[in-house]
């Protein structure tokens, strides 16, 4: 029995060591699973930046930025409109139509009109069987920022909201 004792101790040490190693790996894995998304999550950019990226031809970048706005402001027609423009530019015609449709139903008169025009344009494209991005004429853009008055300071801020 005494001869077995060192072997038992060795086996126990290996077993416990293995469990500790396994626990360490599991902990690291859990940490990576939960922390990495937080570490790699993009810092929210301004809506203006998303629009600038769209205007600069960075459609995928703009789209991912707008996705954040869509999650936060799901009923904002302007966000949907720019999302539609990005999808259209990326030839995601089904997604573009979905966003345009939302704006056509929920936007103001100006955006509704622009969205209906875009939907007509997409329909014609579909009926022609074309899938070329180049054949899609970029839709109109609403005016977002007035010409800034040089060195003017903000004195009043209007925030438009509703209890819907």
């Amino acid at each position: 029995m005494k001869k077995l004792w060192p072997w038992a101790r060795l086996a126990t040490t290996i077993l416990l060591g293995g469990r500790a190693w396994y626990a360490g790996c599991a902990g690291l894995s859990a940490c990576l699973t939960f922390c990495l998304p937080l570490m790699t999550e993009a810092t929210p950019v301004s809506f203006q930046q998303a629009v600038a990226d769209y205007n600069g031809g960075k459609y995928s970048v703009a789209l991912s930025e707008l996705d954040g706005y869509k999650k936060m402001y799901p009923t904002n027609a302007l966000v949907h409109y720019y999302s539609a423009l990005c999808h259209q530019a990326l030839n995601h015609l089904t997604e573009a139509r979905t966003d345009y449709q939302y704006v056509a139903e929920h936007g103001d008169a100006r955006l509704q009109s622009m969205s209906r025009t875009a939907i007509d344009q997409l329909s014609r494209l579909h009926s022609q069987g074309s899938s070329s991005v180049a054949s899609v004429t970029p839709s109109s853009q609403p005016r977002l920022v007035a010409n800034a008055v040089a060195h003017a300071k903000v004195k009043r801020i209007l925030e438009f909201s509703a209890d819907w």
């Binding site: 302007l78 008055v149 300071k153």
Partner: protein, 71 residues
């Protein structure tokens, strides 16, 4: 969002325009500035000129940065 930011810009007059009621008084203002969805913010200078007219940032910090551009 305004409540958290107001105290940091005491010289700016913050106003909420309520668009809950269809045809309510806020809608006339919304039409004046071409508001196409909410939330939306408009920054005005002392003469009523529009400095910024857009969807606000998603965070209070981002919104404050937008104000600082004109402050």
């Amino acid at each position: 969002m305004l409540a958290a930011t107001k105290s940091k810009f005491r010289d700016v007059d913050f106003q909420t325009v309520d668009l809950t009621e269809p045809g309510g008084p806020g809608h006339e203002t919304a039409e004046k500035y071409g508001i196409s969805g909410i939330p939306h913010v408009v920054f005005l200078d002392g003469s009523g000129n529009v400095l910024f007219n857009s969807v606000p940032s998603q965070s209070a910090e981002g919104f404050e940065e937008e104000i600082k551009q004109f402050h």
